[in-house]
């Protein structure tokens, strides 16, 4: 815990120094931002917008991870499926976010469903690409073991497959959560009447850096808290079996 706090303090110090040197409206220091965040929290604005965004992030993240992992697993395991589905994956993964967002908003409507769908579809192929690599790297010897002892499908997934996919899952959900959040911002910016992205859009057109940064940083702080209190302890538990490097 201490190194984390120390490291964050260092980060803030660097920022404060940069702000002091720049002396510009365009790079507000940590104190300005801190005050702004407090004011926004007190007005209830920030919690409301954050909640809107967070809801979208969670739902679309869950959809993308579930479907993406399933698709990636199947593609990594079956050469036949992979050969057929791979071009679709390449198309989807390289489709610009803007195009997907526009299509979703046009064909589904300017509503929540379209927004969440657009984000999930944007993120899904990335999860698939990562999980496919994971599935390809699965150990055939453990598979044989599971088959010999006739492990049930569920037990096989849980005890044999998932632990092998764990680092890929960790990687794709960590970098994935951040991507989802970034796309949610764009989706909100283009067509939602609330959420952090909506605020950023307005703030951007006014060049209100203090507001932009205070919302961005609030989300980052949230992520830091989730990382420190939830993800990392879980990860440590999941990695207990690894031999510590000498």
């Amino acid at each position: 815990m201490w190194p984390r706090i120390f490291s964050l303090a260092a980060l803030i110090a660097v920022w404060a120094l940069a702000a002091a040197l720049a002396q510009s409206r365009l790079l507000p220091g940590p104190f300005v931002i801190g005050a702004e965040i407090l004011a926004e929290i007190r007005s209830g604005e920030l919690p409301f917008q954050m909640a809107c965004t967070l809801g979208r992030v969670i739902v679309s993240f869950a959809i993308a991870m579930l479907l993406g992992t399933a698709a990636g697993y199947v593609m990594g395991r079956s050469k036949a499926v992979d050969r057929f589905a791979d071009p679709w994956l390449v198309v989807l993964i390289n489709m610009p976010a803007l195009v997907i967002i526009i299509f979703a908003y046009i064909w589904v409507g300017l509503n929540e469903t379209a927004a969440i769908l657009a984000v999930a579809v944007n993120k899904l192929p990335n999860v698939t690409a990562v999980m496919r690599e994971g599935a390809r790297a699965l150990d055939p010897e453990l598979d044989e073991m599971a088959e010999a002892f006739q492990l049930a499908w569920f037990a096989r997934m849980r005890h044999v497959v998932m632990p092998q996919l764990a680092p890929y899952l960790a990687a794709s959900s960590r970098s994935g959560l951040s991507i989802v959040w970034k796309i949610v911002l764009v989706v909100e910016l283009i067509g939602r009447p609330n959420g952090v992205g909506f605020v950023l859009g307005s703030a951007f057109s006014l060049f209100d850096m203090a507001r932009i940064l205070s919302y961005a940083i609030s989300f980052i702080v949230l992520m830091l808290v989730i990382e420190s209190l939830l993800v990392q302890p879980l990860e440590r538990r999941a990695n207990r079996w690894r031999r510590r490097p000498a």
């Binding site: 409206r25 283009i190 067509g191 859009g201 057109s205």
Partner: protein, 305 residues
Amino acid sequence: RASEALRIGLQSTGTFAWQLDVIRRHRLAESAGLDLKVSEFASPDAGKLALNSGSVDIAVTDWLWVARARALGAKLLFYPYSSAVGAVMVKNQSPVHGIEDLRGRVLAIAGGPLDKSWLIVQAAATRRGIDLKHETTLEYGAPPLISQKLQQGEAEASLNFWNFCASLETRGYRRIFEVRDAEAALGLSEPVALIGYVFSEPFASEHRSAIDRFIAAAQKANDIMLQSDEEWNALRPLMNAEDDRIFKAYRDRTREGMPRRPIAAEEADARALFKALASIGGAELVGPSQELDPGLYYRPAPRGD
């Protein structure tokens, strides 16, 4: 005399591109001793970024943004470019005929809640006793998307930028409330130019003559565009007008938006508008100051070559 370089930021689909094209084809810059270096960008916000990072000398940008930035300490100057504004529009057969009828309907707003036209319409509606913010269902979105949503029927009325309005008009939509009318309702004698040439004070003080010459050249271009229909035929490839009616609408609205009055008169109206906006948008919109900064407008030196 060696020509002086002037770096200009331009949004590729904006009308400023048309004006610059006229300047180029009539060699107005060369004859004013200017060498224009134009950078084209796709986003309307690129101009702001470019000014802030010192990558261009002049960009066409929001009046309100400049006012706000000045209030926050940025030394920027503004010179009117266009007063063309949008309108609230509905389908021709719609039962909606005025803003009163908007109550309880879905109104889509291009830009966001801080869009200047939207604020002006809101202020005017408030004076008529209509609280649009609470009496209608609002949708915000990017301008092209809002235009599409009106056409798909998801929104019953929309407030959009003037160029989208011009093309909607030719597709069976009508205006029920012009932002221009709203400005009049707020007590302005004439619409204020809401976008203009923006440059920094230090640059202006060092290159005063270059700016003046550029403004003069732009004025000449405006004159040409006002008088000659031929000129517009030459501009047509730039305009992305699908048919003649849209083309004509674009042309007429552009002409209509060209500012012609002296800066002092402009500033007086601008001051009144700013007050009205400050009263409804608050500090969030206009920044810390409730009064328009008197130094905002750039005043060219009196002509006397």
